[in-house]
């Protein structure tokens, strides 16, 4: 037939209207991505704490009864001694397994790791001076600033922990709970929320068996079962890859997904309603124009195609601008907030982009309702002029 109905004529001549629509859609892209980015940075951070660290070191805190202790007719001191003895005995037995490189009975210091949303406690093993270097070597890190712990109450933390807890070298750790008893004397050359030290003489902290493994232990309970120890929920605590993954899924990913879904659907609902209303008004304004096109020989299909081209251009431009704005903000947030907080993040989340693109497709689908209705209402000018005389 020749020339198509150009979509660009409307866009060129209605820059403000189109710009409002494009910017609104671009801001929704940005908002949706940023919310998901912040939530996902929480998952990234806690994955290191819960899963990655558990590949190298596992912790066992068992109840006396699980260790086979019979405490009847024993006083507190005797119980304590027997508990120590049983734990040391189990730690020695665990060393006999091929996948266990070393095992200690140690006090545990709990460190809060704060993410963009929420926080999690991770273990800092407090061991004998000689064992500190064994743990650090096993972990593949070394002191990059300050020095190794030499005296009771001295610890080293890695860079991520220092930033996350807003600590400086020679600061005291958690002064609120521990007074000035635990001092940070060195910074480790790693970024995985890890630390190690020597227990303070003033406070007796909770204890655990620390297992240094070759990375092949996913489930410590299987080793314990071989020793006749069966883990009971509510009595015993196991920190390994299996429990880490379970906690990550249940306490972090599921919670994040629920929150992000609520935000996502909220944004989508508001956007859909606003867009539907605005677009319906916009279509009404253009009715005479399309009636004219129809009268001078353009088919409804050609008119529909030009509307779709306008829509595709608007959404395409919105995605382009939204992606650009989002990238700038993501980098800004990373340098301005995430890195200073010692939080981990990824810039590129293809699944979030897919979600946004799908929601845009859904919106375009939804807008087919007013478009189809507007097309149905198109009449040739003779019919419109008949109306004038009715």
């Amino acid at each position: 037939m020749g020339q198509k109905l150009s979509a660009m004529k409307y866009i060129k001549n209605n820059k403000r209207r189109v710009a409002v629509l494009v910017i609104s859609l671009a801001l929704c892209f940005m908002l949706t991505y940023l919310v998901n980015f912040l939530l996902s940075s929480t998952e990234e951070t806690f994955r290191i704490v819960l899963v990655d660290n558990a590949q190298k070191i596992q912790y066992l805190r068992l109840a006396g009864s699980s260790l086979g202790m019979d405490v009847e007719h024993m006083d507190q001191e005797e119980i304590h001694e027997l508990y120590l003895e049983k734990n040391l005995e189990l730690a020695e037995k665990l060393k006999g397994y091929e996948e266990v490189l070393d095992s200690f009975y140690a006090q545990i210091l709990y460190m809060d790791v704060k993410a963009a949303i929420g926080e999690w406690q991770t273990e800092i093993p407090l061991v004998e001076k000689e064992q500190v270097s064994v743990i650090l070597k096993h972990y593949g890190t070394k002191v990059s600033e300050g020095r190794m712990p030499e005296h009771p109450g001295e610890i080293v933390l890695d860079r991520a922990s220092m930033k996350n807890g807003n600590y400086q070298l020679n600061d005291y750790f958690d002064t609120e709970s521990l007074d000035d008893t635990v001092k940070i004397v060195g910074i480790l050359d790693s970024e995985s929320y890890f630390g190690c030290g020597i227990p303070s003489e003033k406070y007796q902290l909770s204890t655990s068996i620390v297992i240094l493994s070759d990375g092949s232990i996913q489930d410590v309970t299987k080793l314990l079962e071989k020793e006749g120890i069966f883990i009971r929920d509510g009595f015993d605590t196991v920190v390994d890859v299996k429990t880490g993954k379970e906690d990550l899924q249940k306490e972090v990913i599921d919670v994040i997904n629920n929150s992000s879904n609520v935000i996502y659907f909220g944004v989508l609902l508001v956007l859909s309603l606003a867009l539907y209303i605005v677009y319906t008004m916009y279509l009404r304004d253009r009715r005479n124009e399309w009636c004219l096109y129809c009268s001078i020989g353009y088919s409804k299909k050609e008119i529909y195609c030009s509307i779709l081209r306008e829509l595709a251009f608007t959404f395409g431009l919105a995605i382009f601008i939204g992606a650009g704005l989002t990238m700038i903000l993501v980098v800004g947030l990373d340098f301005g907030m995430i890195r200073p907080m010692g939080i981990r993040c990824r810039y590129f989340y293809p699944e979030i982009i897919m979600e946004i693109l799908c929601s845009y497709m859904l919106l375009i689908g939804l807008l087919q309702i007013p478009i189809r209705y507007a097309l149905y209402k198109i009449r040739t000018i003779d019919a419109m002029e008949d109306d004038l005389y009715v």
Binding site: Q3, S295, I381, E385
Partner: protein, 225 residues
């Protein structure tokens, strides 16, 4: 060009009192010339124009355009005919408000944009619109300039038939005669059908068809019943 046989158009078909907009007459129109169709409101002149231009389908009768029956065409075929063979000037100018005068003309073009821009400018300038007016939106143009833009839009594809429904209704006398001059010039090579109440603008028409109550009362000049 047009052979009209027993054309009938009935409105309100479902009602007991039917309204005959066209009462069943024959008419033959030439290939070129300025034909005026005149008559009071409700005489059926607009309905006749819409039937000839395929915008309306008559209830009964035949319309042959260059020997081809156009009343039985499919919608898509009628669209192609309107697009390629016919041009329209409506009672109201129906210019697209957000487009410049130039864009309003090129929007109807069937050829590619580059070819038509020069032609649209030539038409608009020929109709007395200056370089500045060409880029103005309809709201910034006078009534006469708007109607001349609408005529330029109707002529951009060099249609064989130009239908003009009350093209001078909203214009003062000076502009009305200027518009009629344009149409008269175009009618030298093509057929121009002008519907009007105003007999004075048809003084140079090759033929004037008078309509009354859905029928042709008289024909002066070319054309035949």
């Amino acid at each position: 060009m047009f052979e009209i046989k027993n054309i009938t158009m009935i409105y309100d078909m479902e009602k007991t009192e039917k309204v005959y907009a066209l009462g069943g007459f024959d008419l033959s129109l030439p290939d070129k010339g300025l034909i005026g169709i005149i008559g009071p409101s409700g005489s059926g002149k607009s309905t006749l124009m819409y039937c000839l231009s395929t915008l309306k389908k008559p209830t009964d009768g035949k319309i042959l355009y260059n020997g081809k029956e156009i009343t039985r065409l499919k919608d898509s075929e009628r669209e192609v005919l309107r697009r390629n063979e016919f041009g329209f000037v409506f009672q109201r100018h129906f210019l697209v408000p957000y487009m410049s005068a130039l864009d309003n003309v090129t929007v109807a073009a069937t050829k590619h944009e580059k070819e038509t821009i020069d032609k649209a400018k030539e038409l608009l300038k020929g109709f007395g619109l200056g370089e500045r007016e060409i880029s103005k939106r309809p709201s910034k143009l006078s009534g006469g300039q708007r109607q001349r833009t609408a005529i330029a839009r109707a002529m951009i594809n060099e249609p064989k038939v130009l239908f003009a429904d009350e093209p001078t209704a909203a214009l003062d006398h000076e502009n009305a005669f200027a518009v009629m001059e344009i149409l008269k010039e175009y009618a030298k090579e093509n057929l121009v059908l002008v519907i009007t109440h105003d007999r004075s603008i048809l003084k140079d028409a090759d033929s004037v068809i008078e309509m009354w109550d859905g029928d042709i009362s008289t024909i002066k000049g070319g054309g035949s019943v």
